[in-house]
Symmetry: C2
Subunit: 326 residues, 2 copies
């Protein structure tokens, strides 16, 4: 699977380099501290999946302009702004193996630099003078904040249903990836059915991507993950593997799972036995299967396009959503 | 002076009522908790100065459309988003006599509802399909976050100069008021010199408004102010009365002022003696005078417009910037 990652990212290395430059050039802050905080989150090994998707979707729809690299930064800045704010919300201390921004510069700076990044996105979007582009980016931002709030109010709610979980991850993760794909089609002036196909593709891989992320919290080790495994469990975030296993568990096992979920602190032994329940009651395999189904759906939406190198790359990115280890 | 406030707000009561309705109608959240947090900050006795300025500036430029009330909510939502985030940044506990949102719902909800309000502004701006409107709102948001960060990094910096102070208040406060006035002119398709005149008017009253606000922290009592007086001093925020007095003070008095500014906690006695220094070294009167000069400038920019009831109202709002007690 690492082979897939290697081939995939090698074949778009020129695009990725252009995105890196654009991320530096368009940050454009008035104060040094803003650069420092923003760069800490922006240049810490992110894979630029969102900008890359926008650029490839634009290319697939025949885009020939020169604004795609610049506009693609919106999706990385938005993502970074959300991470800055979410790390405060979650009380996280590590991200990608490094201390989070608010642990270094304080919550105040992290909140305000997040706001600055949101504002930069708006400015970059406004430059297109395309009201549809601005509208899509506005909708993404609204959805993401509401998805995060939804997740927040449902913390430690053991009755969270699978459909509510899907609604949360759609808003907090999938709409941004969907938006990147949709905007790629929009700036290429693609016809409505192609815009819709790419939006559907983006939504599906976004959902698969978040499910894979939620799985990592129970199957990865902390070194690969760059943050502490079991963080979701400790923060009281109920994800699909847990929701499914809770529903399937017999009465004594469910009681034991609930005890661990509601405990003030979770020992390594509790964490291991919790993971055993997730396997025993198929929470892990069900989530993998569902994520895989979304990946297959994503690929099927691409069938409205002729086969091409770009379409092939988008297919492989869909597979990558599941294959990643960190 | 309360008389001025009464007359002023009575004569625009229809507009203010329409703004109140629009603020409710355009909030449009998916989750109850978002309404609750947003309404806590939005409907707690704000004077709707920013929406009112936008509406009056549009009217002065002959606007005849129907989107002004809706668009004017942007300036109140942006203001509210900033307050939600700033109260976290400042560690404030009271605003307008009520506990701040983060004290009731936690910082996480306050950060995320602030983000939601920023996103709503973008959606409402996008509806105009006017790239200039979107661009101005983006610039405001960038400036505000950077002004707040600038203020944050300069906390407890006793060498803060008057020009740096002016730069901070321009960004954190004045550009929003300037933007409200400019957008009023823009949606009325006013010629460039009128847009500029109203932008200059807005910038000047914005600066006067913040200076008056900074004065209140030393001259109001806590009951009138709805928050604790001396908050700026306790938070290490150097404002113009302090900057000016520090520069004028003799060596022993300056040393005593610095001691109080750097103290971990400030007694009532220290606060009173600090205020005495501000009076003795003309920090208070200098700030009043400068604020007044900005108000007079603001009014002079209106001279490009024919006398009218609307122009008269804008003149009175400029005076009100200085007259307010809370």
């Amino acid at each position: 699977m690492n082979d897939l990652k290697y081939r995939l990212f090698a074949s778009v290395s020129n695009d990725l380099q252009a995105v890196e430059s654009a991320l530096h050039e368009n940050l454009n802050p008035f104060l040094d501290i803003v650069s420092k905080v923003a760069e800490h989150i922006l240049f810490s090994g992110g894979k630029r999946l969102r900008p890359l998707l926008m650029i490839l979707c634009a290319r697939l729809c025949g885009y020939s302009g020169r604004y795609d690299k610049t506009l693609s930064t919106v999706f990385e800045y938005l993502h970074a702004a959300t991470l800055l704010h979410d790390d405060i919300v979650d009380g996280a201390d590590l991200r990608r193996g490094k201390p989070v921004a608010h642990a270094i510069w304080g919550s105040a700076a992290a909140v305000l630099v997040g706001d600055f990044l949101l504002a930069r996105c708006l400015t970059i979007a406004a430059e297109t003078e395309n009201p549809d582009v601005v509208r899509v980016i506005a909708e993404i931002t609204e959805n993401m904040s509401q998805g995060e709030i939804h997740q927040l109010v449902k913390k430690r709610d053991l009755n969270l249903s699978e459909s509510e979980y899907l609604e949360v991850i759609r808003r907090k993760t999938a709409v941004l990836i969907q938006g990147a794909c949709r905007i790629g089609a929009l700036i290429a002036n693609a016809p409505a059915h192609r815009c819709q196909a790419l939006a559907d593709y983006g939504l599906s891989i976004g959902i698969a991507f978040q499910m894979a992320d939620d799985l990592l919290d129970y199957v990865a080790d902390s070194k690969d993950l760059g943050k502490n495994v079991g963080a979701d469990l400790r923060e009281g975030k109920l994800t699909l593997p847990v929701i499914f296993a809770l529903k399937q568990a017999d009465v004594p096992d469910r009681a034991e799972m609930k005890r661990i979920l509601q405990a003030d602190s979770i020992s390594d032994k509790d964490f291991e036995s919790f993971k055993d329940f997730l396997h025993k009651y198929k929470g892990i395999s069900y989530t993998k299967e569902l994520a895989n189904r979304h990946v297959q759906n994503a690929k099927s939406f691409l069938s409205v396009f002729e086969p091409s190198e770009t379409r092939q790359l988008l297919m492989e990115i869909a597979d990558y959503a599941l294959a990643r280890k960190e």
